[in-house]
Amino acid sequence: MALDWSVFCKETTTGDLIADCFGSRGDQTYLNWILSAWSWTLTVSLGALLVALIVGVAVGTLRTLPDRPWLASLGAAWVELFRDIPLLVQIFLWYFVIPDAFPLLKKCSPALLVIVAIGLFTSARIAEQVRAGIRSLSRGQRHAALALGLTTAQTYRHVLLPMALRIIIPPLTSEAMNVVKNSSVAFAVSITELTFFARQAGEETAAPIQMYLAATVLYGLTAFGVNRLMHVIERRARIPGFGSAGAAAVH
């Protein structure tokens, strides 16, 4: 079965073939569209990952604080809440329910709400990894820092987190790739990312195989790119004498 790939050179409203496959002056080909869809996938993924890292590290840290039981339970409740509701339902909550309850948020762009939704969903998972990473450090690290006169905040900032975050890079890598895959759920609230594109363009052109294949390949490329990027970060961040020996303990 030979596939006709020229469908990507068609204009999206008129269906005319465009010579160089790139529309100009307001014309948009399916090639233009899929590239813009890819950039939406990247935007949503990176934005969500950023939210997830910031919130996840904060919540994971809270859960390990000494002598702060209610902060630790707050962290536990956070993880439970965001881990036990399906991502699609969380996206609907942020997109439909929360703006309804807080009308100010109606001015927010849908993409921003989806980024927050995927980000907080992932933050629960990252918080668990951060907690496991901090727990895997020997207690001597914390004690040594306190003996040197560092405050709790300084201990976390200069001793515990730098070590723990390096240790959890491998599970963080797979979480980052999950974020790319999870960004596909944004199709449900009409963010024009790759899955939305594949569904829509597949229907319009009656060439769903080409559209699905292209979208699937771009997802694969993106996940692979994230994987490579994380490996570079892992290598750059490595401290001589501390290999990935601690990594096996986490999970």
Binding site: D84, P86, L88, F92, L93, S184, R199, G220
Partner: protein, 223 residues
């Protein structure tokens, strides 16, 4: 500024039939996908551990593709392709079941593979020394131990799986979320229906993950 959420419409006798139908399908899908996924996943894992590259490679490719493509895309692919294979259209519900079994098989195969590899080498050797074939060795010595060790991971995967069933939204199958959505549209309160859906999913998943934690504790004692 006060919000406009209004849950007054909620009457159990109005909501229940739709939600029960959807919940039934979601639970059914979870059970079939778990059992099917474990069966096929075990087969895939065993093939990958045979030591025959000609068989291992295609399985490895299958597993890696399934694991690197978003589930929503896999659902769309199967929904597109299954009618070509069977020669007639199948419903979204049936298509989703086939997709989930095929998809979960890849994930479960990785769990089973790790579980088998964690069994001490001496167990294999002892089995062979007793004159068992590869099949007998797996059936009587390795898999019983491996499955017991894998139980907590299996259960964690089931919780994830139950949450993932909501993604059948992409092909329009009637699941728990769809049940709430339908009720919401019927009574003109779609937003509140999503909120209720979230509460129900949360309660079910929290019950499941609490159960997982209890099992984890018991298994830890056995070890």
């Amino acid at each position: 500024m006060p919000g406009t959420l209004d849950l007054d419409f909620f009457r159990w006798d109005v909501v229940a039939p739709f939600v029960a139908k959807g919940l039934g399908y979601s639970v059914w899908l979870t059970i079939v996908a778990t059992l099917g996924g474990i069966c096929f996943g075990t087969v895939l894992a065993l093939v990958r551990l045979l030591g025959k590259p000609a068989l291992e490679r295609p399985v490895a490719i299958y597993v890696n593709i399934m694991r690197s493509v978003p589930l929503v895309m896999v659902l769309l692919w199967f929904f597109l392709i299954i009618p070509f294979v069977t020669g007639r259209p199948v419903g979204a519900e049936m298509s989703a079941i086939v997709t989930f079994v095929a998809f979960e098989a890849a994930y479960f195969s990785e769990i089973v593979r790790a579980g088998i590899q964690a069994i001490a080498r001496g167990q294999f050797n002892a089995g062979f020394a007793l004159g068992m074939t590869y099949g007998q060795n797996m059936r009587f010595v390795v898999l019983p131990q491996a499955f017991r060790n894998m139980l907590p991971v299996f259960l964690t995967q089931v919780v994830i799986l139950f949450q993932d069933t909501s993604l059948v939204y992409a092909i329009g199958a009637y699941d728990l979320l769809k049940g709430f959505e339908t009720v919401g549209k019927n009574v003109g309160r779609p937003v509140e229906a999503y909120l209720l859906a979230a509460v129900v999913y949360f309660l079910v998943c929290m019950a499941l993950s609490t159960a997982v934690r209890l099992v984890q504790k018991r298994v830890q004692i056995i070890r």
